[in-house]
């Protein structure tokens, strides 16, 4: 039972982490808070849903379509909405307002196009699980976890071992110095934003087979992603992973030991305690990449 609770918690945490990574990447490098984050997740979920129901494309295959599409969308959004606001007065406030507005537009667009029905798909993994030493692992969530780990490893590699990664880290640490060193900050910003959006798109794809989609589904994940990001440390991508797993485990334990109603109370309580002890978050600042 204990192992089962841990396993369920970790799998849930994996999903939370995957949803949060893109948000934190964007914050860490461009220093903007993307309030439309959850709504991009929603758009990706609808994309996956319709690719499956209309075209019959398996959600895991549709990653090959959604991911590049979201890179493009990310580039467009950055060019049209974010870039004009950067480097001017009140950038932080203006980008928050702009992305919040974008979120409303996306939600209402979805409501207009697809109505508020809950939509869910049945794939060959839905409702299936892998049994491992008496522990049941949800098939959909296990794959989500695998993808999450793969993304983490890949992201770590890119950031630490490649030239682009070095540039990204340089921009993240000191934009002006990076500019002086000849790094094209604008290019790095575009790239980071596009990649951050594509990551949340990937999360949407992975989530669709085990979850359901409706126009305001992003709101819940938005709140969760922000809590995780702040918990793990703003701007730290390892922090987002750790934060996600911690919240998943707390919810799982509190849900079984106390009650499901109280699970969120516990996770928010621990969140508050951690903030009190370490205001910068678990992996904040010192470990920022």
């Amino acid at each position: 039972m204990l192992l089962q609770i841990i396993a369920s918690g970790l799998l849930l945490g994996g999903i939370y982490a995957l949803v949060s990574v893109g948000l934190n990447l964007i914050f860490g490098v461009i220093k903007i808070v993307n309030l439309a984050h959850g709504d991009f997740l929603m758009m990706a979920m609808y994309g996956t849903f319709f690719l499956y129901t209309v075209q019959g494309i398996n959600p895991y295959v549709s990653t090959l379509i959604i991911f590049p599409a979201f890179v493009l969308i990310g580039v467009l959004i950055f060019r049209l909405i974010i870039k004009p606001l950067l480097g001017k007065a009140e950038t932080e406030v203006n980008t928050i307002i702009a992305t919040a507005g974008l979120g409303f537009v996306l939600q209402n667009l979805a409501l207009m196009l697809w109505k508020s029905d809950f939509r869910a798909i049945e794939t060959n993994l839905t409702g299936k699980s892998y049994e491992f030493a008496g522990i049941m692992l949800s098939a959909g969530r296990t794959w989500a976890f695998v993808v999450c780990v793969a993304v983490a490893v890949l992201l770590y590699y890119i950031l630490m071992k490649t030239k682009v990664g070095t540039h990204v880290r340089a921009v993240s640490q000191d934009t002006e110095a990076a500019t002086l060193m000849g790094i094209n900050v604008n290019k790095i910003y575009t790239l980071t934003f596009a990649f951050g959006i594509a990551l949340v798109g990937l999360a949407g794809v992975i989530l669709t087979p085990t979850f359901y989609v409706y126009p305001t589904v992003g709101l819940y994940f938005n709140t969760m992603a922000f809590i995780i990001v702040v918990l793990g440390g703003l701007g730290s991508f390892t922090g987002a992973l750790i934060g996600g797993l911690i919240i998943g485990l707390i919810e799982s334990f509190a849900g079984v030991m106390a009650s499901a109603e109280l699970a969120q109370v516990f996770s928010l309580l621990i969140f508050l305690i951690i903030l009190f002890v370490r205001p910068q978050g678990i992996m904040g600042k010192s470990a920022r990449v």
Binding site: K115, S116, A120, G127, M136, Y212, G255
Partner: protein, 450 residues
């Protein structure tokens, strides 16, 4: 010339005045014969998160009015007209729209209104303005515990649904004895519900009735319907290993519960759900074949045996099914649209004629009086039960929780419906049952205990 025009205008004015005067007594004389205007206000959420079911409700109401009007209207001579307002899934907007319908459209009756929260907001407006609220779907008990005079609910309150599922199990003692080797009152019960007013009220009925029979309630858990993960609650149920799972939720969490229960290998011999999310098409679309053999407790008998109705109502039912199927491509066998249709029919076919016969007018006071004096036999209601309403002077005390309800139809009851091939069919009580209930989940169901 000027003077000529002046005189001409004076003449015209006098002619108009004379004609006008002449018309007046004519109108007065007509009143008794046919000047009763049946005009009501309908409030449903057709935008916002509750829109899918709100629209289905509105469609059900419209179809009932359309069918009555085709036959000349109420009593065959008073056509029904209505003003519609969209509550946008928001109680505050529902209340302000109710206010608008009353003050600017002058409606004496409001009908609707989908959720208990919206119904509660509208009922306050109705009470203040002394206008009848004919509530057709807000099921939470709390709506009618305030002693209001102008709000009436024809269908069973939510705690009665919760009581019905336990009574149904107790009524199957012999079968349970044979299959599980113990009597119904020794069963281990798990009560799981969403934590809103509706889920809580149903669970109150479950709990109180289970306690009455001294059943062992091993799990009693609430969860948020917005939750993205129900695995902890499922693990808890799994470790308690119950014989009966009584589940109350909405569509999305119902789908999620089903998926995660399968993933975590939850099995249970008897599974009963309570209306809300489990008896609508969206749930079937979400879970597919897994819907089959699920029992739902609903305030209406879905796809009942029409022998339980009078010949007139059996014919109305058949016509409704064929019209709805023609119009929407699917039969109206899920509880939402049918429930509204049935109660709109009841209102205009039974209540309003009584009001007009007693007072000769269609006013809030006349309608309220007709509802208070109503004694409608079960065969004249497509809801499958009779109608007698409690009042502030004579409140009804429910036998489960001991609360006093005013404006509640105390003849109302809940029904057990069950999915066969994706369609809900009445299985309990016997007079409306079309098929025999399959009490234990059969082996082919993924949650069946083998």
């Amino acid at each position: 010339m000027k003077r000529f025009i002046g005189i001409l205008m004076l003449v015209v004015f006098m002619m108009v005045a004379v004609v006008g005067c002449e018309k007046q007594p004519e109108a007065d004389g007509d009143k008794a014969a046919g000047d009763i205007k049946i005009h009501v206000g309908v409030i449903e959420p057709v935008t916002g998160p509750q829109a899918p079911l709100g629209q289905a409700e509105y469609d059900g109401i419209q179809m009932a009015i359309e069918m009555i009007n085709e036959k000349g209207g109420v009593m065959g001579k008073y056509p029904i007209t209505f003003d519609f307002a969209d509550s946008q899934s928001d109680p505050a907007i529902g209340a302000s729209e109710a206010e608008r319908l009353i003050t600017s459209k002058g409606v004496p009756v409001l009908m609707g209104s989908y959720s208990s929260a919206i119904a509660a907001a509208i009922s306050e407006v109705a009470e203040r303005n002394k206008v009848v609220l004919w509530e057709m779907s807000g099921a939470a008990d709390s709506l009618l515990l305030k002693g209001y005079e102008w709000t009436f609910r024809n269908e069973a309150n939510a705690s009665a649904w919760g009581a019905e599922s336990v009574e149904f199990i107790m009524g199957n003692d012999a079968a349970i004895q044979e299959k599980l080797g113990k009597s119904a009152k020794d069963l281990v019960v798990a009560i799981v519900h969403e934590d809103g007013p509706y889920g809580a009220a149903v669970a109150d009925g479950n709990r109180a009735t289970a306690k009455k029979y001294n059943m062992n309630v091993a799990v009693d858990e609430a969860y948020s319907a917005k939750s993205v993960d129900l695995s902890s609650i499922i693990l808890k149920i799994k470790s308690a290993n119950p014989d009966v799972l009584l589940l109350t939720g909405y569509v999305n969490d119902g789908i999620l519960f089903n998926r995660q229960a399968k993933e975590l290998g939850l099995t249970v011999p008897i599974l009963i759900t309570h209306s809300g999310g489990h008896s609508v098409q969206a749930f079937v679309d979400g879970v597919g074949k897994d819907a089959d053999f699920l029992m739902t407790v609903d305030p209406v008998p879905c796809n009942p045996n029409t022998e339980g109705f009078s010949a007139e109502y059996a014919a109305i039912f058949e016509e409704f099914v064929s019209r709805w199927t023609d119009k929407f491509g699917v039969p109206p066998y899920h509880h939402v649209e049918y429930r509204q249709f049935a109660q709109t029919m009841l209102f205009f076919n039974e209540i309003v004629p009584a009001a007009i016969e007693a007072s000769g007018e269609f006013t809030a006071e006349a309608v309220a009086e007709a509802i208070r004096n109503a004694d409608i036999p079960a065969e004249n209601s497509l809801m499958g039960h009779g109608a007698k309403f409690s009042t502030p002077d004579k409140p009804w005390t429910d036998p489960w929780l001991g609360n006093q309800h005013t404006g509640q139809n105390y003849e109302a009851r809940a029904f057990i419906n069950q999915y066969f091939d994706g369609t809900l069919v009445t299985v309990w009580p016997e007079n409306l049952a079309k098929q025999e209930a399959v009490l234990f989940l059969p082996a082919e169901h993924p949650l069946a205990r083998k």
